[in-house]
């Protein structure tokens, strides 16, 4: 890569936002504390540069925020709203999964409609059962939205750049535990990671791990551990959940003949259910063992840090599942 800087994940999102807002007057940002506090730092200074006309604090009203985004989008603006927590998707479900997702469809319109809805997701050592959920599966089930989950600072920037140019509403899931993680981020204002493209984070031959977001790093750690045992995992970071990069996924699975999905979201009817179901549908006769899922336990997330940690996949669990996949 040409020119890069060491930047945190959240600041990388912020870079994308700032450079896009400088060029495109139709972008504005709205959410609780986006002007005064910031969503864990991503838009620090945004209000200073663009003023509180374009960087707008709202009151406590997630349904309003998401509905406003839909209305502004059909009126030709590009709203970027921060919903605070993935859990709050359930407060604004009608506005996101009925209005943003299908307003055009149900009105029979073929027009651009841009809106970026930011959902910080996942555990962060004790935020509790209503402030820690991974709700990205909702965007997979209800059609009409694009859905991304960056796992690196560079992707946070690249996918935000893409989301801000996308003529469809995007659910942009930022990962809480990665917020302040640094990475090499291209300096290019237009650094662009296309929505719908996954990438191979580690090439391998023994089995394919499909993962994204908070679980990319533990999956890579698991792969390094298993390499010592002669198990050579291929780790794919999906990056987008709608659309999923099926060509990449299926090519890999057909080559390794084994697949497992790893995510923090709860297992039952979670993203991994679709991924596993689809892989076995499309590549059944290439598979030498079932597609496994390592995922969050099917329980609300306790606030206690230790109990919480038991609810989400550990590197050890990934290692164990991969061993079972390859040997068992």
């Amino acid at each position: 890569m040409a020119d890069t800087n060491s930047v945190t994940y959240n600041a990388a999102m912020g870079q994308a936002l700032v450079s896009a807002m400088r060029k495109d007057d139709s972008i504005f940002v709205l959410g609780q504390g986006v002007a005064t506090g910031g969503w864990f730092g991503a838009e620090k200074g945004l209000a200073d540069e663009f003023g509180t006309d374009r960087v707008i604090d709202s009151n406590i009203s997630e349904a309003f925020e998401a509905g406003l985004a839909a209305g502004a989008a059909i009126a030709g603006m590009k709203p970027v709203i921060n919903m605070g927590f993935g859990d709050f998707a359930l407060i604004a479900g009608d506005e996101i999964f009925h209005k943003l997702a299908k307003w055009r469809y149900m009105h029979g319109l073929n027009v651009p409609m841009s809106a970026v809805v930011i959902f910080p997701i996942g555990t962060m050592n004790g935020a509790g059962p209503e402030h820690s959920s991974c709700t990205e599966v909702l965007g997979m089930h209800f059609p009409g939205l694009k859905v991304v989950v960056p796992s690196t600072a560079a992707d946070a920037k690249g996918l935000m750049c893409a989301a801000l140019r996308e003529p469809n509403p995007v659910l942009f899931h930022s990962v809480n535990t990665l917020s302040f993680q640094r990475g090499d981020v291209p300096a290019d204002d237009d650094y662009f990671v296309p929505i719908g493209k996954g990438c191979v984070r580690r090439a391998g031959t023994s089995a394919t791990v499909l993962t994204y977001g908070s679980m990319v790093s533990p999956s890579l750690q698991a792969a390094e551990q298993l390499a010592l045992e002669g198990i050579d995992l291929e780790v794919i970071d999906l990056r987008s959940l709608v659309p999923i990069d099926w060509p990449l996924v299926l090519e890999s699975v057909r080559r390794t003949n084994r697949a497992m999905v790893v995510h923090e979201a709860m297992k039952t009817a979670g993203p991994g259910a679709e991924i596993a179901a689809h892989i076995q549908e499309q590549a059944f006769f290439d598979l030498e063992s079932p597609v496994l899922r390592v995922a969050g336990k099917d329980v609300p997330l306790p606030q206690h840090g230790y109990l919480e940690s038991l609810c989400i996949p550990s590197t050890a669990e990934i290692v164990a599942a991969a061993r079972q996949l390859c040997l068992g």
């Binding site: 504005f28 006309d53 374009r54 709202s58 009151n59 009203s61 349904a63 309003f64 925020e65 998401a66 509905g67 406003l68 985004a69 839909a70 209305g71 502004a72 989008a73 059909i74 009126a75 030709g76 603006m77 709203p79 009608d94 506005e95 009925h98 209005k99 299908k102 307003w103 055009r104 469809y105 149900m106 009105h107 029979g108 319109l109 073929n110 027009v111 651009p112 409609m113 059609p143 009409g144 694009k146 003529p167 469809n168």
Partner: protein, 321 residues
């Protein structure tokens, strides 16, 4: 005539004639649809607005063409009032490709025409409050002077989005008009049974905005209060909550037996078309009605004659590009 003429507070003769013409078209569509539903050729759900047309016609007459309208959709007075033709409406009700939604909308209508500010309906009632605020904010950010109007029923005033949206719209003085058509019913439940107030306009006080009650059967009265509210909004003075007292002449849905209603409930009904007609010469009114009926009939026949939409319609418009 052009739309500028109707923005004065007392509409001129031409403006009144246009309002009458549009109300007559709405009425003709209502009558046509009622017959159509009785004849059982209808797959959608039709919520008749016959007798309740004055509010939509009066309010839209006060709007500029580029003002944003979000309607609730009892009947079609709002869409016709804002300038939609009968063809895309009837095409839609009959589920034909010529309909505004190309077969995707229907009885719970989703007609829209962005070129004249008809932005559409949310079938989850009350969902358009924040959308209208979003459009109002867009107008403010671009400095275009447009306003947004959200139309809704008395029952729908109970939705939480009513409150969340007005908290912000009033705090930020957004150019947003709340326009309630209070017909005192939500399906078969009388409003008074589930509301602490007969007057939806009473909620305005908490938001420190004007709450205005108007005779919703009288299109000119509606025109007047809406014109004032829009002038306030354009001047940066913020939202107004208008409550039009209207009359639900028919059942909630086409075919509703209305067991829950007194048998003489029609005694107090006043016909909005007749009321507006007193401001026109008899001949002119009759001509306009005749013309409207003929226009609607031919749009209806054209839609009937049309083929059904292509199967692949179901995959269209989900994503852009």
């Amino acid at each position: 005539m052009n739309d500028k003429d109707v923005s004065r507070s007392t509409p001129g003769a031409e403006a009144v004639a246009l309002m009458y013409r549009r109300m007559a078209i709405t009425r003709a569509i209502e009558i046509c649809m009622a017959k159509h539903v009785r004849n059982n050729r209808f797959s959608g759900w039709w919520h008749p607005g016959e007798g309740q047309e004055a509010a939509g016609i009066g309010a839209t007459a006060a709007m500029q063409q580029d003002d944003y309208l979000f309607y609730q959709g009892r009947g079609c007075s709002w869409a016709i009032g804002k300038g939609m033709a009968p063809a895309p409406i009837l095409g839609d009700l009959l589920g034909k490709p010529s309909g505004a939604t190309g077969g995707k909308g229907g009885g719970v209508p989703h007609w829209s025409d962005y070129s004249i500010g008809v932005m559409g309906e949310g079938a989850t009632l009350g969902s358009v409050y924040p959308l209208a605020a979003g459009a109002a904010l867009a107008a403010r950010l671009r400095g275009t002077g447009q306003v947004a109007l959200a139309n809704f029923g008395d029952g729908t005033a109970a939705r939480g989005t009513f409150h969340e949206t007005m908290v912000h719209a009033a705090a930020w003085k957004l150019p947003l008009i709340y326009f309630c058509e209070n017909n005192e019913w939500l399906v078969g439940t009388p409003l008074k049974q589930v509301s602490p107030t007969e007057n939806i306009a009473d909620y305005a006080a908490g938001y420190h905005i004007p709450g205005v009650i108007v005779d919703g059967q009288d299109a000119l009265a509606v025109y007047q209060v809406t014109t004032e509210a829009i002038a306030r909004a354009r001047a940066g003075e913020g939202p107004t909550l208008i409550e039009a007292k209207v009359f639900r002449k028919h059942g909630h849905y086409a075919g509703d037996p209305q067991h829950y209603r007194a048998s003489n409930y029609l005694d107090t009904y006043r016909d909005p078309l007749d009321l507006l007609g007193t401001h026109l010469g008899d001949d002119q009114a009759a001509d306009l009605r005749e013309q409207a009926t003929a226009d609607v009939q031919s749009a209806y026949e054209a839609a009937l004659a049309e083929a059904d939409p292509e199967p692949d319609t179901i995959f269209k418009d989900l994503y852009y590009g």
